[in-house]
């Protein structure tokens, strides 16, 4: 019996110590716990800037980084934390998911900070809408990625004797010329989200922003089943002719490196691709080219990372409000976005330190915000809920990879997908 008692006593002691330790920990407070997946080199450094800013103001920062899977793992961790009634102070949540968390009543409002800092004037209304739930700010934008980009290798274009295409027709013509010159015209990776990324740019080019808004954001069944949609699907499928046969399952950064190496001419991908070009030591506008995806010069599909704030009390809330304020301040916005390849979420920043592509992105961001071409990206979870997005992905990728599915059938399935999810 004494044999048993000893370890028991030790365990009890250890438990008591642990409990005491965790109690002192929570008393210390004035600390924010931030769940995010900015774990790659540049991103981690950028997140560290935020930590230092918080510490300079006397708040603690408890890092809760969960690596892997484009945030899938982090979301699983977040769900289990939220279910056990112990959510972090802030978490990297974006797009319509903010609304889902808001509906569960788990998010805290930021109206005080937003009012004091004038977020309503600072943020474009389309962006502000994403950050609000029931009219109150519950999240703060960290950066803006543009999805409708075309990247190109100037040497390949030169060898084929073509310019950067600005319309879909020019894209097909340039593609033919590039193929004849002996290169792969369009680098692509056959994964559902990449198929959807290309598809939404084609849809935007052939249908226009208003149609895109109706089909991909409002999920209007008439628009989804319309002639225009069928036309866009057919054009999208034709793009396959410009891609190589081995693309199935290829990662996006491998496709980007094909453009960097010069085995492929162009790639349709969001501006995170710039990170790959930069890492290869290339200069924007000279050694690699960027332009709006052909036919979408007046549109900007945004993919915005944001930090949503959970409902917390007392000192933690105070620290959380400070975090929200600091995230939108120029110091962090500049440092973070220089590292991430995206642009700041506030259009009033000086863009001198940024490269040519980012500057163009910012110009287009401001212009489309005023003229109405600023639309959320469906492929990156900004437009519709995850389940609808998944159902649309299934249709798009199945159609793109199938030999015999007609565009009419794909459009019909898309209508079904949108309705099943309502």
């Amino acid at each position: 019996m004494t044999l048993l008692e000893n370890p028991l006593r030790k365990t009890a002691l250890a438990l008591a110590t642990a409990a005491a330790a965790s109690m002192t920990f929570s008393v210390q407070a004035a600390e924010v716990e931030v769940l995010h997946w900015w774990t790659s080199g540049g991103e981690a450094r950028a997140a560290n800037v935020l930590k230092e800013l918080m510490e300079a103001e006397g708040y603690g920062w408890e890092d809760f980084a969960v690596a892997g899977g484009g945030g899938e793992t982090a979301m699983t961790v977040l769900k289990s934390r939220a279910m056990s009634g112990n959510p972090p102070s802030a978490a990297q949540i974006k797009g319509p998911e903010i609304q889902e968390w808001g509906e569960l009543g788990l998010l805290g409002e930021l109206d005080e900070v937003a009012g004091a800092e004038g977020w309503d004037e600072l943020l474009p209304p389309t962006v502000a809408d994403v950050m609000r739930h029931n009219g109150s700010y519950v999240a703060v934008p960290v950066n803006v990625h543009r999805v409708n980009w075309l990247w190109a290798n100037p040497q390949v274009l030169e060898a084929a004797g073509v310019e950067m295409p600005t319309t879909l027709d020019e894209l097909f013509a340039a593609g033919e010329a590039i193929r004849e010159a002996g290169f792969i015209p369009l680098a692509h990776g056959g994964q559902a989200w990449q198929d959807a990324t290309v598809f939404e740019s084609v849809l935007l080019a052939s249908g226009g922003t208003e149609f895109y808004q109706q089909a991909m954001v409002e999920l209007d069944p008439e628009a989804l089943g319309s002639e225009r949609m069928i036309e866009a699907l057919e054009t999208f499928k034709r793009l396959r002719e410009l891609m190589d046969a081995d693309m199935s399952g290829r990662d996006w950064n491998i496709a980007t490196s094909m453009v960097i190496e010069g085995s492929a001419g162009m790639q349709l991908m969001g501006d995170w691709a710039k990170g790959e070009f930069t890492a290869a030591g290339l200069t924007a506008g000279e050694e690699y080219l960027c332009a709006a995806a052909p036919g979408t010069q007046d549109a900007f599909t945004f993919n915005i990372d944001s930090l949503a704030m959970f409902r917390v009390e007392g000192e933690e809330r105070e620290a959380q409000q400070a975090l929200a304020r600091l995230v939108l301040e120029p110091t962090f916005q500049e440092a973070f976005n220089l590292a991430k390849g995206s642009i700041p979420a506030r259009p009033d920043l000086d863009m001198n330190g940024f490269d040519a592509c980012a500057q163009q992105s910012m110009d287009d961001f401001q212009r489309t915000a005023e003229e109405g071409g600023l639309v959320p990206s469906m492929a990156h979870g900004m437009a519709v809920r995850a389940d609808v997005q998944g159902a649309i992905f299934d249709v798009v990728t199945n159609y793109f990879n199938s030999r015999d599915m007609a565009a009419e059938e794909a459009a019909r399935r898309m209508v079904n997908a949108a309705q099943a999810a309502l």
Partner: protein
């Protein structure tokens, strides 16, 4: 049992103390086993029950308890991707189990011919089993990639028209899963069969030879029927590998092209965890469980019964 019996017989010392320790010894095994039994009851059967309950609700991102009857099952039945995944499982599972058994048996019989270096050969065949399916998947992904692997190699030898592009062909992608899985598991089946072959009594074989049976006939009528229990174990192990296959799909094809090589496990994961459809995901998990039980229970029943009687 012998422990408790001997403890119940006091031989010396205080009777009260003895009976205390006797009681303790009688209860100790149960006490020690109780936590693991409780844990498996809770975490296996409890969670099965919970999954079933969730499959009857409209749970999306987080579990909710708003019951909607069998609506999630109806949605699942109307889902094209689910049917692709289920059909793939039948094709993949059937071929995988059949080919592994056939190949394993042939390898075992060949290896059983008292050849030199048998130990080394056995190890070589058995080694793939030591790898994770992720490693197998990645290696075969490279081998089967038309631009990098076998096709590119054969073409570089001058056979310009050689085609082996199953990995990027939506109709054939599921067979690449079979290739990789068979490569991984057939050596293990061979080891099982080899052990079975070694266990067969030589005198039976000699009797058959004396009766003038030819070698193929001996194998077909005598040896293989003797291996029936091994086939039983092999089928059990292989079919559970087939049904839970997830990592292989993720590493080899990623479910693609499109979702042509999806399996129920990857379908379930995608819906329950990344698409915020816990209800639908749970329904698919319950159907997977149903499928497993529908195949295994009759097989288990017939095998165990015939063994008891035979």
């Amino acid at each position: 049992m012998s422990l408790t019996r001997s403890a119940a017989r006091p031989t010396a010392g205080s009777a009260a103390r003895r009976s205390h320790s006797g009681l303790l010894q009688a209860w100790l095994p149960k006490l020690v086993l109780a936590p693991s039994a409780a844990i498996s009851l809770f975490f296996v059967y409890g969670f099965m029950l919970w999954t079933f309950i969730l499959s009857l609700t409209n749970s999306r991102m987080l579990p909710s308890y708003e019951f909607v009857g069998f609506a999630q099952y109806a949605r699942l039945m109307a889902n094209d991707r689910w049917w692709v995944a289920s059909t793939n499982l039948v094709v993949f599972g059937g071929l995988f189990v059949a080919i592994c058994l056939a190949l394993g048996l042939v390898l075992a019989i060949l290896l059983d011919q008292r050849i030199r270096q048998e130990g080394a050969l056995r190890t070589i065949y058995l080694y793939p089993m030591a790898l994770s399916f992720i490693v197998t998947g990645v290696v075969w992904k490279w081998l089967l990639n038309p631009g990098l692997g076998i096709q590119a190699m054969v073409r570089s030898w001058g056979f310009e028209n050689f085609r082996f592009d199953w990995l990027v062909d939506p109709d054939m992608a599921v067979y690449t899963l079979v290739i990789a899985a068979v490569w991984q598991a057939s050596g293990f089946v061979m080891a099982l069969f080899l052990a079975g072959l070694r266990g067969i009594d030589d005198s039976i074989l000699k009797a058959a030879q004396l009766d003038g049976a030819s070698l193929p006939r001996i194998y077909w009528r005598v040896v293989i029927p003797c291996l029936r229990p091994v086939v039983f174990s092999a089928v059990m192990i292989l079919s559970h590998i087939a049904i839970k296959s997830f990592d292989l799909v993720v590493a080899l094809t990623g479910g693609g092209p499109g979702y042509a090589s999806d399996l129920p496990a990857t379908f379930m994961y995608a819906h329950a965890f990344t698409r915020a459809q816990i209800g639908l995901g749970s329904a698919s998990a319950m159907l997977m469980l149903g499928g497993v039980l529908a195949i295994l229970i009759p097989y288990l029943y017939s095998e165990l019964r015939s063994r008891r009687h035979g």
